[in-house]
Each structure stands twice: as structure tokens, then as C-alpha cells.
Symmetry: C2
Subunit: 216 residues, 2 copies
């Protein structure tokens, strides 16, 4: 049955890493089911034994696809890319691919991890300042890189994995009250990408688990 073969995304509407995966599914035109994992309700549904079996890191997203379960958004997206190549999310030329991956990793290893819930819980009441500090630092590095690589999108004129990382990170930046107007290239790319259907339908504001009174 088709319903058995659809991937299942275990995610959370405003997790930036879950959003990356939703954009990938949308760009690839893949149908999928969503199982919401509410990171704050019930003390955190990612902490249950059931979810821990899917992802021992107790983080979203986790995706069940093709009979196995994967965690880590970039590993998930690259698996989708390698098994459903069209449209490509990585360019074919090795140096350009490397630039895409570098931008992804600056965000996925250099910026986003410092805003993970389990880190913010450890920081406590300073968490807004903490998050702001590391997003500001990261964007100060990312802006001059994007000035070099960007065309219409982060790397040239084709949407790539880098764009899937950028837009959710800008969304996080706004949550942490970082002034994105300091970074004109980041701001311009984000605005362009938010006009794209795949980024609109995957947006945190319109997911099955988005609350009616969604906080920004």
C-alpha cells in the first residue's frame, strides 16, 4: 500500500532542523506523514522511551523511510538526495558541492547547535542573550561567504541544501531577536526563498502541530 511506503517525519513545527527536512520533501515533491513530537509539552515528548528508540539523541527530526529510521537532518537530506535525485539539491561540480556543504556545516555545526533546547535548558535565564550571541557571530562569518557564493540563491542560481539550512536559521535568528538587516545578503536570500512554494508549505506557521496561538 502506498501509505506504508510514505516516509514518516517525526518532527516539531518550529524546530529549524525539522523544517530543513520538510523543505527537502517539498522540493522533491515527496508525500510524507508527520508525527508531531512536542518538545515542550509533557516535559518534552522527545524524552520518552518510545522516541528514544527512534533517536537516542532525543532530538527531532527522525525520519522513517525505506524501512529504516534516520536522524540528523543533513544525513536525512543527503539520503533523500542520493535515492531521489531530482531535482538536485547538490550541484554536480565538486568545488561548488563543497561550497554548498561548507555553508550547510557552518549553520548545522557552527550556529544551530548552540540554540538546541537541551543546550538552552542548561544555560537557563540567559538563553536569549546566549542564542543571540552565537547567531550574530555565525552570521558575521556567513555574510561575507554568501557575498562570494550567492546568485539568486545561496550558491549560484539553483536551490541547494545550503538554502534549506539558511531559511530556518534566519527564522531562529528572528526568534532570538537578531537584527537581520545587518546582513543584507542573508536578508535578501531569505526573502527570495520565502517566496518559493516549497518554503511556504513547509513553514512552521502551517504545520499539523502548529498551535493556533503560535508564539513567534
Amino acid at each position: 500500500m502506498a501509505s506504508q511506503t510514505k516516509p514518516v517525519l517525526h518532527g516539531y513545527y518550529r524546530s529549524s532542523c525539522s523544517w530543513r527536512v520538510r523543505i527537502a520533501f517539498a522540493l522533491k515533491g515527496m508525500e510524507y506523514d508527520q508525527v508531531p513530537v512536542n518538545l515542550v509539552r509533557d516535559g518534552g515528548q522527545q524524552l520518552t522511551t518510545r522516541f528514544k528508540a527512534l533517536n537516542p539523541m532525543q532530538q527531532v527530526p527522525a525520519v522513517t523511510i525505506d524501512g529504516f529510521t534516520l536522524s540528523q537532518s543533513l544525513a536525512i537530506i543527503q539520503y533523500i538526495e542520493e535515492t531521489r535525485p531530482e531535482p538536485h539539491l547538490l550541484p554536480s561540480e565538486p568545488k561548488t558541492r563543497a561550497q554548498v556543504r561548507m555553508i550547510c556545516d557552518i549553520i548545522a555545526s557552527g550556529i544551530q547547535p548552540l540554540q538546541n533546547l537541551y543546550v538552552l535548558l542548561k544555560i537557563g535565564e540567559e538563553k536569549i542573550h546566549w542564542g543571540q550571541h552565537f547567531i550574530q557571530r555565525g552570521f558575521e562569518a556567513l555574510e561575507p561567504i554568501l557575498v562570494q557564493t550567492a546568485g539568486k540563491y545561496c550558491v549560484g542560481n539553483e536551490i541547494s541544501m545550503a538554502d534549506l539550512c539558511l531559511v530556518p536559521q534566519v527564522y531562529n535568528a528572528e526568534r532570538f531577536k537578531v537584527d537581520v538587516t545587518q546582513f543584507p545578503t542573508i536578508k535578501r536570500l531569505n526573502e527570495t526563498l520565502l517566496q518559493h512554494e516549497a518554503f511556504k508549505t513547509s513553514h512552521p506557521s502551517c504545520q499539523p502541530d502548529t498551535p493556533d496561538d503560535m508564539p513567534i
Copy 2:
């Protein structure tokens, strides 16, 4: 001239991300030059204008290769893999490749970023406890995953990118006084890999910039 075509690694002997790249060069049998960037001397040589032009994130490693400069260790290693495929550091089967990337990203996005120097400087005197906490948390997740995926190495019986991430992270764990005997699979894999020539020659204890009185 051959010397002009050798890659240049801008790194630091005990940076775990620099070590990942050194292992890749060693496994691929690639000659390279090292330009040490001392993260503590002179207030941090990664903060100079000259280094910032190589990597605006002001982190090591950065690698100049084939006429361009890349940062982010996993982007560097995948570029090397795509341009110098032998011996492979990623398996050919998509699900197994995805497992390798998942393990890499658990370490590179979920564990290591919390021990970056610029994070520890923000934490201050609690830094050892902080680092310990996040390595312990990460290894508690990684151990059951490796129980499922490991053969002789992290994923099956071939060395992969996952092994390049694991060994430097265990080295960090020891620096932060995490008791690795709690994690028998991690401990066993690390011991096996440390016997391998590529992991020995790339070890922090024997680099051009390793001080005679190296702290552990």
C-alpha cells in the same frame, strides 16, 4: 611544481576537527603541508585578519586545495572523497552511507560544537563540567547506535568518515575527563582505530606544532 599543488592544512595539533582532516589525508595517501594556527598563543592566531580571510568563522581547520580554500571539516573530507575516491571513506550503498553520515553529524553537530574554544570562553570556569556534560550525553546516544552499526569499525568492517569523527571525539572526551569505559563499543572501536597507521601519524601528539610539554 608538485609543492604548489600540495594541499595546505591550516590547523592546530589538538583541534579534533583538524585531526579528522589529517586522518583523511593519511588514509588517502595524500601529501600535504601544515600551517599551524595556534588557538591560544598571541590571544589566538585564528582571530587575525589574515586567517579570517581564509575562514570567517575563525576556526580551524581550513584547507587550501585545488586552487580554493574550504573550511568545515566534513565539507573538506567529502570534497577530498569526491575528487580522490580511493580508498573510499563512504560506503557505496545508500542506507549504509546514510548511517555513516548520521554518526558523523551526531558528533559534528551534536557533541563537538559544545567544546569549541569560542563556546568554552563564553562558559568560563565551568567549562570542564560543561564539556563533560555534553560529551557524556552524546556518548550515551552514540553507544547504542554503534552497537547496531559497528563491525570492526563504526559502520561494518571498512573504515569510514564516521571513524574519522569518532577517534578525535574520544580524544576530547579524555581531555574533559569523561570515563570512556562506560561505553564499551566506543572504547573498543577507538582502541582498534588507534592501532591504524593513518590514525597514528595524524595523532595530536606528533604534529609539527605539538609542543614538547604537550598537555593532555
